[in-house]
Subunit: 332 residues, 4 copies
Amino acid sequence: MIVHLSKDLSQNDIPDLALSNKAIWYESAEYYVFVLPSSIKELPNNLQNHAINNWVLPDDIQLASRIYQDDVREVKWANSITGGGTNNTVMIAGPCSVESEEQLEQTAELLLEQGIKNLRAGAFKPRTSPYTFQGLGIEGLKMLDKIRSKYGFGIVTEVRDATNVEAIIDYADVIQIGAKSMYDHGILKRCGKAGKPVLLKRGFGSTLQELVQCAEFILSGGNEQVMLCERGIRTFETKTRFTLDLCGVAYLKENTNLPVILDPSHAMGFAYGIPDLARACVAMGVDGLLIETHPNPKVAKSDAAQQLDYDVFRQLMGTLNPVAQAVGRQMV
Amino acid sequence: MIVHLSKDLSQNDIPDLALSNKAIWYESAEYYVFVLPSSIKELPNNLQNHAINNWVLPDDIQLASRIYQDDVREVKWANSITGGGTNNTVMIAGPCSVESEEQLEQTAELLLEQGIKNLRAGAFKPRTSPYTFQGLGIEGLKMLDKIRSKYGFGIVTEVRDATNVEAIIDYADVIQIGAKSMYDHGILKRCGKAGKPVLLKRGFGSTLQELVQCAEFILSGGNEQVMLCERGIRTFETKTRFTLDLCGVAYLKENTNLPVILDPSHAMGFAYGIPDLARACVAMGVDGLLIETHPNPKVAKSDAAQQLDYDVFRQLMGTLNPVAQAVGRQMV
Amino acid sequence: MIVHLSKDLSQNDIPDLALSNKAIWYESAEYYVFVLPSSIKELPNNLQNHAINNWVLPDDIQLASRIYQDDVREVKWANSITGGGTNNTVMIAGPCSVESEEQLEQTAELLLEQGIKNLRAGAFKPRTSPYTFQGLGIEGLKMLDKIRSKYGFGIVTEVRDATNVEAIIDYADVIQIGAKSMYDHGILKRCGKAGKPVLLKRGFGSTLQELVQCAEFILSGGNEQVMLCERGIRTFETKTRFTLDLCGVAYLKENTNLPVILDPSHAMGFAYGIPDLARACVAMGVDGLLIETHPNPKVAKSDAAQQLDYDVFRQLMGTLNPVAQAVGRQMV
Amino acid sequence: MIVHLSKDLSQNDIPDLALSNKAIWYESAEYYVFVLPSSIKELPNNLQNHAINNWVLPDDIQLASRIYQDDVREVKWANSITGGGTNNTVMIAGPCSVESEEQLEQTAELLLEQGIKNLRAGAFKPRTSPYTFQGLGIEGLKMLDKIRSKYGFGIVTEVRDATNVEAIIDYADVIQIGAKSMYDHGILKRCGKAGKPVLLKRGFGSTLQELVQCAEFILSGGNEQVMLCERGIRTFETKTRFTLDLCGVAYLKENTNLPVILDPSHAMGFAYGIPDLARACVAMGVDGLLIETHPNPKVAKSDAAQQLDYDVFRQLMGTLNPVAQAVGRQMV
């Protein structure tokens, strides 16, 4: 159950009220937001005098539910807006990993040419082997900061674990929580207080229910700027790296109020299928698209097979707006 | 290895030549087509004098491979064409099951109104419980025949097992092999000699490799009119009925010469997500789209949750052509 | 709902009674067994006068349910019994495919030496490629018949599709329905009238619910001798061929009255892990064990990697009885 | 490639040597252990003079590989030993979560009665919903410490994310890394320096390859005491909570030198199947068994359905040793 409580209440009384109702709470601009366990179906007595409104939810998808808020939340990026009244599909592009300043300069050139406002690149890479490239770490974040200062891109970059969450909060415009870190309580709870938009990727072995419940950790911490990202789930099929779950996207669009961003690059794992998939994603009417592109994919230090070269990327970009317009949206 | 042998060869010599090379063969309009195990990488001596051409294949995807034939095969439907030089995306619609003549008349009215030329409906239903509606059987096929005679639709209907394959070959314009029957040798081998187009659905637990190899059973029987259908695979996610595998579709488009038809209805399992998914399928640039629709889904005898009512179906149809055109195709 | 109806009823009245209640029925030794849709929760009026007993079931697992019959059904093999009051774990061994009389003679020698009474081998192989060995067909069945006549083994062999079901019913002692044919209505319905025990393998992409519902097709045809076989399901893990689902076996043992046979050979796909898995299966307290063994696995015409050579097989056999005894059972 | 380098080398020279070879290294009792990327197949020149031995590995499973070390590593628990020359199967039992001192006292009583030396219970719970019990945190660890001081159990307890890794290292005898944290670099790297045994659980959506590679993060940090734990993977089957992957266990036993511990409680998710599964695990010849048990499962604050009550647990314990002995092992 979600309860909006009046700000007439003294902030001093809030912790006890929350504790007695097993509620998680935060303070929004207009009221105190209490979230009680979903098993509670009637407004508790000690909240009745101060409750402005309340919502009974069938399960622990609460703040993210369309039952609580029927419109898609508006999320403000550095240079763009998704959700809310917009019909924007935001484009985010860049390499898998920050590798060098030169590589970021080449990326910047491409993005400027294509009118893309948001750059993605990872500095802390959650690799599965200790014996491969692990990312440039803080040095990589500094390179991203420099390219942002120069060109004004919004920077989307990934937190790997709770030991680097502060660094990412400092440097990113949009904090990306990667698929392998989706359940990380250290990250989720800290992001609830981060004051910056969060892009939460679905774990490749995680259900839609779990994805949205992880978003609830952030939302219930008071950060209302959360976006969900589908990037492919793991199935028995091995000809492609993962399986992009567009049925799941249809479910998220119908049942949650969070913007949905699609990452076909990780799902496919091979450059050849990504343009078709990217168009399919845009035709789904989603809020954003993440595409990996690299000046020279063959020598990329991570995910070489799935990064588009610039020619293919340019061709793809030329085809996205017509599809977006066919479904009443625009690429931004 | 595939070998095209000259028709100068006496047909009497063919069986022995095939046997000595462990080849499956059929006679096309222009030559004898021999398919040898893919482990054979050099043209056998006793075929050299008669071989017009030959192709070495890396695995047992042979006749369906882009290595053998780089263009998508042209398949002739009753009233439309897919693949080949066309950029057609053929529309097939109708109820899950034939339930009554009245229901088919209502379907016909809708299809005529929407300019749809191909009607789908099942008479032999591969239900998982013996205690539910099993389809009208031959009576259902006769109803389909009557509606075809009256309105001229192409009829797509499903063979359930080898005991009804003759009936389906008699009555259908396009023989549908359902997901649960994908491996059925009795059906596959008979369809190799059927002389009618075959729509082969991917088993929900089957790999792409297995799907295409099952198509090879039909192709190597001499039936060159085979289409593949992705209809959702079974994964750990249960919020939707199945998971539509568009990464797999990208793989099939890249690697096989068979037209690809998409069935988002069975994948999603719920009406609400199907329009978005249908548009995504069309944006993938596929060769056809199967959509289930019912005059009154609530009382449907099978798959009630996933059949679109006519209002939703009409709205969907209005949006498909713009998406098709945005990717250089047209709905037919 | 299952209803036992008195044999006082005239057999002439049964079809109408069944039709009016949408019931499937058969005649057992003692009564007519009617199975109505599980949605029916109250005994219909027109059955009340003749009903001896009735059971309300929560879903379409009916005749196989522990609610209907709390003991495991006793199934009579040619030379052994499973289920019922016995604590028998029946051993079935042999090659994947019948390849030659010599191979079967070698198999017979091994089985006699080890005191194994049931021989398995396939004559109709459901291969996924048309370009590989497809089995010896009727010739293979004749070889099995000959070896049976000579040594008295019970023969377990597989029906591939409805076009060979009559041959298998003629030649087999226990009819095996393979994983790829689990849903085959042509086979299931015919086996309901076969009068021989049926070993129904779980499809590798099939749920436990679907497996048991397929058994219901056979049971409701009047064949009360059905056994379930777990042989591995398809998951994301590819280091092994399939994933043996022993949690599923625990579910089947708890909820169904059908004997459960385990096939670790197909699950593992590699000889090295099969002895450990076979011991684990026996420790689960199951009713039977299927193990593939070949006189020379390296040259086997199908499933070469997973067939045990005779030395390994002998070592395995020496370890099974101690495990069986530790859980209160005996190998037969 | 793994290289053992002589301790004649000055420690000052090591970092540069490692850097120039992209090697991760640690110092064991007898030599410096360098692990180079597995793509390197020949001993580099600058290591040749100091190399005592080296191993070429086919992929990034290196320190955990049987190619490097053919025997199972011996791991010393507080009160027991697994692996090495022993044939021990260590028993670990206790509740899902620490709930109270009283609950731990009851657990202690049961364990003492049954001769079990290792107690498991979680204080930091990685729940998927923020609105449910999250564990007692540090208070829970203190309760565990108190019960250890009193009775001498070895304590196995779980680290949730990098923010509580120090606390767990302080309090635990064996550090458990849970399924949802398997990829957590913050945890893995810290555990490489922890000086205590680590029990690494397989993520339910993670491959065997990934599991072992995560172990490599710990091993290559210099912690040679790593155990792997199979606790069920996520598949399409939903009648049970997860699917225990014993085929995977067979793979791990064959290919890695790490002890393997089995957790059938989380796999099954329901008390009824766990005894059968536990016996199957022991029959596999594994190194340890984790079983959840609770004085009153119905009121458990987490995982209520899968915790055994004490009567069932006692019955189970009575059956494990006979199975262990049948496969040449003993429960400790």
